[in-house]
């Protein structure tokens, strides 16, 4: 990529730098949230319950008098962690399945295709709910459920890329120089599949965060008192109709901005990596 092309892209899409900054803030909060939080996110203080945002409590306090700002900060780790784990798992397994299907074709391809079709035959959020209900209500099961509903997308992206590349000249050359199948697949084909994969992962992060937070909003996965954005919104829901908006608002806003950040990042990456999709 030429420099002027990059400059052009950044000019076309000024939101990408913004997304990068937001991403940095998010990662910083996830890594150092518990160190820099002004209050103990778990310490309840009933005397200060349901305080509106102030200089002491930037985002106000919840029904137990816990500092919402600290909890939002610390919650970043949970939300980001779950989404990241789910996306990595889905990408790893999905890539393996997709690459196998695309490279070997035939019956392998058909079987793997059938499997993704089954997952896609369900409304995905309902499937995630059912999986968590079935496997048991725990954080790791939320990760598994999110990974399962994300997986078909990776299988499809990787499958179609690999199926095209299988016939490409450089793959033929590698084969003629005596490389064996798995070696060709992982050493020669996969590097070319990485860019679309990375775009897919970035776009998927936002969606996974939404899913995980939605599951905890309905009481699946993370349990109180862990600070997690979905639960915090659920906690604050009952105070909305009595006017204490901040309890639900700030964690909800944090979630929204985090998802926005990954969506913008994904769009920006796609522009840089794949010029064809841009009009």
């Amino acid at each position: 990529m030429e420099r002027r092309e990059l400059v052009y892209l950044l000019k076309q899409n000024p939101l990408t730098p913004l997304a990068i900054i937001m991403f940095a803030v998010l990662v910083f909060a996830a890594l150092f949230g518990s160190v820099i939080s002004p209050h103990d996110p778990f310490a309840s203080n009933t005397a200060d319950a349901l305080q509106a945002p102030s200089l002491t409590y930037w985002f106000g306090t919840d029904q137990l008098g816990r500092d919402i700002f600290s909890r939002v900060l610390v919650g970043a780790q949970t939300d980001l962690g779950i989404a990241l784990a789910a996306v990595l798992l889905a990408a790893a397994v999905g890539t393996f399945l997709g690459a196998t299907a695309g490279f070997y074709g035939g019956r392998t391809d058909a079987t793997i295709g059938r499997f993704t079709d089954i997952v896609m035959a369900f409304p995905l959020f309902v499937l995630a709910m059912a999986i968590v209900a079935a496997l048991g209500n725990s954080v790791i099961n939320v990760v598994y459920a999110s990974a399962i509903i994300n997986m078909p997308f990776y299988v499809r992206v990787v499958r179609s890329e690999v199926a095209v590349l299988r016939g490409a000249g450089f793959v033929e050359a590698a084969r003629l120089s005596g490389n064996r199948n798995p070696r060709i697949l992982w050493l020669h084909i996969m590097p070319s599949v990485m860019p679309p994969l990375v775009v897919q992962m970035s776009l998927n992060m936002g969606w996974s965060m939404l899913n995980a937070a939605s599951l905890s909003f309905i009481g699946l996965g993370i349990r109180p008192p862990s600070p997690e954005w979905g639960i915090m919104v659920a906690d604050g829901a009952q105070y909305i109709i009595s006017g204490q908006w901040w309890v639900a608002f700030f964690p909800g806003l944090a979630l929204t901005l985090a998802v926005l950040c990954f969506n913008l990042l994904g769009d920006g990456l796609r522009d840089i990596i794949d010029p064809r999709q841009r009009k």
């Binding site: 035959a121 409304p123 309905i218």
Partner: protein
């Protein structure tokens, strides 16, 4: 030509059978995976080991999995989804009585999304970089990252608490009114049929906020797809041909461009509807909406699994049927897809 349409529908129906089978098998497997022992559950905490064993036998849980699956199929064939111990009713009856609430909400939400999303998409595709395009970009960007439960709460705060325009977010009808005589199960339609405008107004007032919440979420993918699809079609060779032939902008837009964008739009609508079916659970919780989603949720919290399983199955079947209709509609628009 009519026989062609019918054979298309027939082949699509056949094509949907594997999905249906998959859905049934997966729900069965999920039910088997459920934690806890249903027999112990039904027997109650005080029951002896023998009593539990007896119930296990009654429920057929001691038989081999294939046999159990066969029984399960038999039950489904008779419309038996099991019993909910929280409501004490057959799950099938509960679902039937609550499904209209969910469908009314989802369909109105989809209508809102379509009525706003398609024109936004069309306007922004025909006027790239205009202010409409910027608005569309804003709406689609925020729409995809706002969690529905959060949007719902913000709307409640603004329109109920601050402005007082909306009624309390507590279900389908103000407590003052009783539901209209049931015809369709959709309160708005039933109220109109009964000529009861007050009930209609109340039902509508209750419906607006949750429907807007859901609709806003559905708007983004619809507008985005319409815009992208139309932009693609507008730069296609056949639209250029139509322009080169001097056809008027209106004809080019409708007969040549929009009609060719219909297939991706229909597909997106199917996908959006499936999102909505899932997201319903969240919105029903926020607005205390008595649909199947909140039914499943209440059951889930009480570890009452038959309703959850029935819900998953019902929603999945609904989804299969929906995909079927989308497929058929697409085949009617573009004959290449019908082959």
């Amino acid at each position: 030509m009519n026989t062609r349409i019918f054979s298309t529908i027939g082949s699509r129906l056949l094509g949907a059978l594997p999905s249906l089978a998959a859905v049934i098998v997966v729900t069965f497997v999920i039910m088997r995976l459920l934690p806890g022992d249903p027999a112990a559950f039904f027997a109650g905490p005080a029951a002896s080991a023998e009593a539990v064993e007896q119930i296990r036998e009654q429920l057929g849980l001691n038989r081999s999995l294939p046999v159990q699956f066969w029984d399960y199929l038999g039950d489904l064939a008779q419309g038996d989804f099991g019993q909910s111990f929280t409501t004490g009713q057959p799950v099938a009856a509960d679902l039937v009585s609550r499904l209209p609430a969910s469908l009314e909400l989802t369909i109105v939400a989809l209508l809102i999304a379509v009525v706003l999303g398609l024109p936004l998409g069309v306007l922004s595709a025909t006027r790239p970089n205009s202010w409409v395009d910027q608005v569309t970009r804003l709406v689609t960007t925020t729409g995809t990252c706002l969690p529905t439960f959060f949007t719902g709460l913000v709307l409640i705060y603004v329109f109920y608490y601050l402005l007082g325009w909306s009624p309390a977010p507590l279900g389908r009808l103000d407590l003052m009114y009783s539901p209209p005589p049931e015809v369709t199960g959709f309160y708005t339609i039933d109220a109109v049929l009964a000529g009861d405008w007050e009930v209609f107004r109340s039902a509508l007032a209750q419906l607006i906020l949750p429907a807007v919440t859901l609709g806003f979420f559905a708007l983004a993918p619809l507008a985005r797809m319409t815009r992208a699809g139309l932009l693609g079609v507008l730069s296609s060779d056949y639209v250029r041909t139509a322009r080169a032939c001097g056809l008027s902008s209106r004809v080019v837009l409708t007969r040549y461009a929009l009609k060719n964008t219909l297939v991706p739009i229909l597909n997106t609508m199917g996908m959006v509807f499936s999102y909505l079916l899932g997201i319903n659970v969240l919105v029903e919780k926020v607005f205390a909406w008595p649909g199947v989603g909140s039914y499943a949720l209440e059951a889930l919290v009480a570890s009452d699994y038959a309703p959850v399983q029935g819900f998953v199955l019902a929603i999945a079947v609904l989804y299969v049927l929906l995909n079927l209709s989308v497929d058929i509609a697409c085949g009617l628009v573009d004959r290449r897809l019908a082959r």
